[in-house]
């Protein structure tokens, strides 16, 4: 198989139109057009608004990525695209485009899993991933602990949020505190000025009985409700709500559970590496806490720079490049965009 294949990755599962190009583990281009500003006034991503923006941005973003990389389509060894999970209408724009580029150029096409791509992006920063590894993926759409035995084919999920994704909890609590959307960066910023121990909010699914059934699962909706109640109670008594302190205490509860369970999963599975990924992996407290706890546990913690943690085409390209190198068969052109794609399907060639 070809060493260091040049692969273009297309990502449209949410509100970022991302096109990345890599050569092996080297990032050549990472073009992203975001419609996040259009969603801000709604306090969440509006699928139809996102899909419209994807269609508008698709071809120009591909061209920008090629220009940034100093390449033409003819230089590519593969095209990879997020086939799911994500917003159905949004995914279809990327999948439609990727198929058409593949048809028009004859370049092999790989329909891949968004979650595995979040793991693969780490190769662009830190080189090949030691297998097995544990992936902790946290974003507005997912909060999962993944077991990566083979990034080219065997990725399983050890646990996931049973209700809200961590990023959703950040958005909702930000709204309670009067902070803008998306909530993550604003809460992170406010929390820096706050007291993490100001109040102890609940850590979901950590009680002994929950740990039996939901050992590696998360729950954040109870936490959000607890924050809402606490704020209400303060207001009812005529107290001011200390935004920075509440942000810090809430963020601590989220990061505590995420890191605790990821470390536990690594220890119990005898895995020496944890990879952080997803938009919430850009959170400064999550990183600090994960670094501390991994060090104490003698586990190697890896994470890419914040820009690569959020949704982008580079992560899809990174996974595509890994699949091409591993000699995985391309996808057949009639594959669907699957909004609820099974996390354990790394690429659609798996099903053939």
């Amino acid at each position: 198989m070809k060493n260091n294949p040049v692969v273009m990755g297309i990502e449209t599962s949410c509100d970022e139109t991302g096109v990345g190009i890599v050569r092996g583990h080297e990032l050549l281009a990472d073009a992203v057009a975001s419609s996040v500003d259009e969603h801000a006034r709604f306090g969440g991503v509006v699928p139809e608004v996102a899909s419209r923006a994807h269609l508008e941005a698709m071809v120009p973003t591909v061209q920008r990525a090629l220009d940034d990389a100093g390449l033409t389509l003819a230089d590519l060894d593969g095209i990879a695209v997020t086939a799911g999970p994500g917003l159905a209408g949004a995914l279809m724009v990327g999948v439609g485009a990727a198929k058409a580029y593949s048809l028009a150029t004859g370049i092999p096409l790989y329909g891949v899993n968004h979650l595995s791509a979040h793991i693969a992006v780490d190769t662009l920063e830190n080189g090949p991933i030691p297998e097995p590894a544990i992936g902790l993926l946290v974003s507005g759409g997912h909060s999962s602990i993944m077991m990566v035995e083979d990034l080219a084919g065997k990725v399983t999920q050890l646990g996931a949020s049973i209700d809200d994704a961590a990023g959703e909890a950040f958005d909702k609590v930000a709204r309670l505190l009067g902070l803008p959307f998306p909530g993550g960066p604003y809460i992170d910023k406010a929390a820096k000025e706050g007291d993490r121990a100001f109040v102890r909010f609940p850590r979901g699914l950590t009680a002994a009985k929950d740990m039996e059934k939901h050992r590696y699962d998360f729950s954040f909706s109870g936490l959000k409700t607890a924050v809402a109640r606490w704020i209400e109670a303060q207001r009812a008594e005529g107290n001011n709500v200390p935004v920075n302190d509440v942000a810090a205490a809430f963020q601590e509860a989220v990061c505590d559970v995420l890191t605790q369970k990821a470390i536990l999963a690594a220890k119990e599975h005898g895995v020496g590496t944890i990879l952080l990924g997803g938009g919430v992996a850009a959170n400064s407290r999550l990183r600090t806490l994960a670094v501390e706890r991994a060090e104490d546990a003698g586990i190697t913690l890896r994470y890419p720079r914040p820009k690569l943690c959020t949704d982008n085409g580079a992560m899809v390209a990174a996974l595509g490049s890994h699949l091409v190198s591993a000699g995985v068969a391309p996808s057949v052109i009639d594959f669907p965009a699957n909004s609820s794609m099974d996390v354990e399907v790394v690429s659609l060639a798996n099903r053939l």
Binding site: E48, R52, V59, V93, G96, A100, L103, A104, A228, P336
Partner: protein, 216 residues
């Protein structure tokens, strides 16, 4: 010149190769399947099939013509992004044509061309001897304003025949790809610059406003 034509503005997933010489049009190969949820799975294989049926390769295609709606958004976008990306990938121009014209431009007399906009609504326009009057509209089939049309035709006309005030063609008619190429003919033959395709949405996005923020 050889043209790839695509339309996904209706429940029909459609692709064709059409030859255009001066004002002569010839349908070389054609694929269509009525599957309102199958656009993203079927369209690319249909294009591949059209090329194979015609014994041609991508290099033989000189331009792409796409229906730009109006039509249900998700399926419509699949066709349009496919057209735009295929053209970009092949280094050829792409041109957009109103999909309703692919129905209405084939009519004689005074006709209403209508496609299914879902939720009991239709996308429609009035044609006088095949020439459209004004911009396409969207609205409830049962609340159509006075149009003076003698009959209605198209997928939306057959589906909502009972609600329309005029006679409606019972067979669902979908945009005719040869007609779309004919309508783009002047641009194709003149080698006009490639276009950024913008869908005729006619409706604003359904945006669920965020839950009301708690009183501060």
């Amino acid at each position: 010149m050889r043209v790839l034509a695509i339309d996904t503005s209706t429940a029909a997933v459609q692709a064709a190769l059409v030859d255009l010489d001066d004002d002569e049009l010839f349908l070389t190969s054609f694929r269509r399947e009525v599957d309102a949820r199958g656009h993203v799975e079927k369209l690319a294989p249909f294009i591949e099939g059209c090329l194979a049926d015609a014994g041609r390769t991508v290099k033989d295609v000189d331009a792409v013509v796409a229906g730009i709606g109006p039509g249900p958004f998700t399926g419509l976008r699949v066709g349009m992004v496919t057209a735009a990306a295929f053209a970009d990938g092949a280094g050829i121009p792409v041109y957009g044509v109103c999909s309703l014209d692919g129905i209405g431009a084939n009519t004689r007399g005074r006709a209403l061309a209508a496609t299914d906009a879902r939720r009991k609504e239709i996308y429609w326009a009035v044609y006088e001897d095949g020439v459209r009057e004004g911009e396409p509209q969207v609205g409830k089939a049962s609340e159509l304003p006075e149009t003076g049309a003698d009959y209605a035709i198209g997928e939306g006309a057959s589906k909502y025949a009972a609600e329309l005030p005029m006679e409606a063609e019972a067979t669902p008619i979908y945009p005719d790809l040869v007609k779309l190429v004919e309508l783009a003919g002047p641009r194709l033959l003149a080698g006009a610059p490639s276009e950024q395709l913008t869908p005729l949405y006619l409706r604003r996005p359904d945006a669920q406003p965020a839950e009301a923020a708690p009183k501060a």
